[in-house]
Symmetry: C2
Subunit: 342 residues, 2 copies
């Protein structure tokens, strides 16, 4: 078999897997934002009927996967592989969500890049001949993240202007080797990039160099120009991180100002919802992809997007030990043949 590598670190899939469906579930605040109409389930109190925030996150991720499976007309047991991850210590959001499914499970940790990593690996598996149906899922929950990464919710900590708001949301995508829908045509796995940013209240700055590294590599490897994509959408750089990404690309003569955005900029109303630099968390780009982006591909708003989730691969322990924040970004090209996305 020929290597599918185009050069650099981008691969062209030989029989691009199809995105059969996307499903999601989000919290109350996300349901009050501009993308409310694109979510399958908006919880009224963010508990998802559970008695702890961690159990709520698992219930939410399971709901997102069930929603995706329902739209694809599949049962969980028909999935050949499930790739999933989240931000919780030991990724319990995902493992408890998948505990009763009886599906081959590959746990991921890519921080907020997880949806990109999962899509990339699921697409590679199907294109490599490993199964017919695979799913990728990711989640984050404001209340689990705050108490794990920052302070107890009751503490009411003051937020820095550069901080982002962790999205309470989960998204799941069902991929198939055959079928109709947008296809994953290229994948560019990310390298770890660390420009020594140490401010854990400024993740956008820590992750922007990784996004720049992967997007640049993808464009170079594929020989594509930024304008070849209708939309280049990063994961959760937020307003500041996205501005830094544009600046880094501008230095190379690439102008993405007219056809790029960031999921963290889309999911909330910045001023009215008091989110400072925007949304973040694995669930941010997972819920925006499975709502707003897949809807736009189906509607013909875009026919070719580059989905680039970003992650910060640090921990409270590494930060307390004075370490900087390593970033990563995985890119996945999603394309439709026809404007209606079928």
């Amino acid at each position: 078999m020929n290597d599918k590598k185009l050069g650099g670190r981008t691969y062209a899939l030989s029989q691009p897997p199809v995105i059969l469906s996307g499903g999601n579930a989000v919290g109350k605040k996300e349901g009050q934002g501009p993308l409310a109409g694109t979510f399958d389930h908006i919880d009224h109190d963010d508990t998802f009927g559970q008695d702890s925030w961690e159990k709520a996150e698992s219930a939410m991720q399971r709901l997102a996967l069930n929603n995706a499976l329902g739209k694809a007309g599949l049962k969980a047991g028909e999935l050949d592989l499930l790739f999933a991850g989240d931000l919780l210590n030991q990724c319990i959001g995902s493992s408890f969500a998948a505990r009763d499914l009886g599906v081959p499970f590959l746990g991921l940790y890519g921080a907020c890049s997880t949806m990109g990593e999962g899509l990339l690996l699921a697409a590679m598996a199907l294109d490599g001949g490993f199964g017919r149906w695979a799913a990728a899922a990711a989640s984050s929950h404001f209340c689990t993240a705050e108490r794990q990464y920052r302070t107890p919710l009751e503490y009411g900590g003051q937020r820095a202007p550069t901080a982002q708001w962790t999205v309470t949301g989960a998204g799941a995508v069902v991929l198939a080797r055959e079928g109709r829908g947008p296809r994953i045509t290229h994948v560019t796995p990310g390298r770890i990039v660390d420009l020594k940013i140490r401010d854990t209240n400024n993740m956008g700055a820590a992750m922007a160099p990784a996004a720049y590294d992967t997007i640049s590599a993808h464009l170079k490897d594929t020989g594509r120009a930024p304008a070849d994509y209708d939309l280049i959408v990063t994961g959760d750089l937020g307003f500041l991180g996205h501005e830094l990404l544009l600046e880094l690309l501008r230095r190379d003569g690439s102008d993405l100002s007219s056809n790029s955005t960031d999921c963290g900029m889309l999911i909330f109303r910045r001023e009215e919802q008091d989110v400072h630099c925007g949304g973040s968390g694995c669930g941010c780009c997972a819920s925006v992809l499975t709502g707003h982006l897949l809807d736009g591909l189906a509607r013909g708003t875009w026919s070719r997007i580059l989905f680039c989730p970003t992650g910060a691969l640090h921990s409270p322990t590494s930060a307390m030990q004075g370490e900087s924040i390593p970033g990563i970004c995985h890119a996945v090209a999603i394309e439709t043949d026809r404007p209606d996305g079928r």
Copy 2:
């Protein structure tokens, strides 16, 4: 392309990737055990020259990868993909180990099954046409695990008889699409199995049902009998968990008593080293594979082994919230054509 699935959830690789090399690094206690002669580096004080245990774990994992790369005659920059994981919150052991390598990085969380998950995904990627060289790495460190999962080291907590000792060790394997060496011929990704064990001091019991589930599936899917393998080796069930696995298989009429073992039973001298039920941690099976097992394959002691790392997908938070311990086990068949393993 034809699906490589044999049925059930086992895949036969079409051009089985080659294990070019394995490298490892371990701590002082491991270097005093029966497998001492199979380790590339034994640290004299478990710090690996670093000023925190977490940094020590990252340094150890990087050392293991460098040792594997050196034996394969490759530079890190030649790797197309690196799959890595560990037990630390947010998997910082791996991300900080890979921070400066400039290699496409896929972070995994599979608890102590991580080496199996990484080998499985790396083999699938190469067999699918994604790159020429891929590596899988995993680590654990007694001192990072104790203070994260249990109590501060200084507390000197009493250990239960069913407890295992977290191995200070890391292992890395370099795989290639072409070359000489043992080959990964089949992979069986694991499902999550939870028989409601709640005792976090008895991980063997929590993980044994997952090992039973995956080994049974592998044998059924491939049509192989236990005796078709020279060795069926689980990850870190320890003495009690391995006994439970044998019992579960015996009920189905499968007798693995003569050709199975567990990495957690091999790495320490049970009585003299005061490890109760044996070794555990991602680094346990990673260092045993890259030392004892690959050595035995090269020497012709075995020509066909089934490597079955097991993981417990819980966290201190899930345990404190009264949850049971979900287990998982991934199986990877490794075979040599000739007794000398070339």
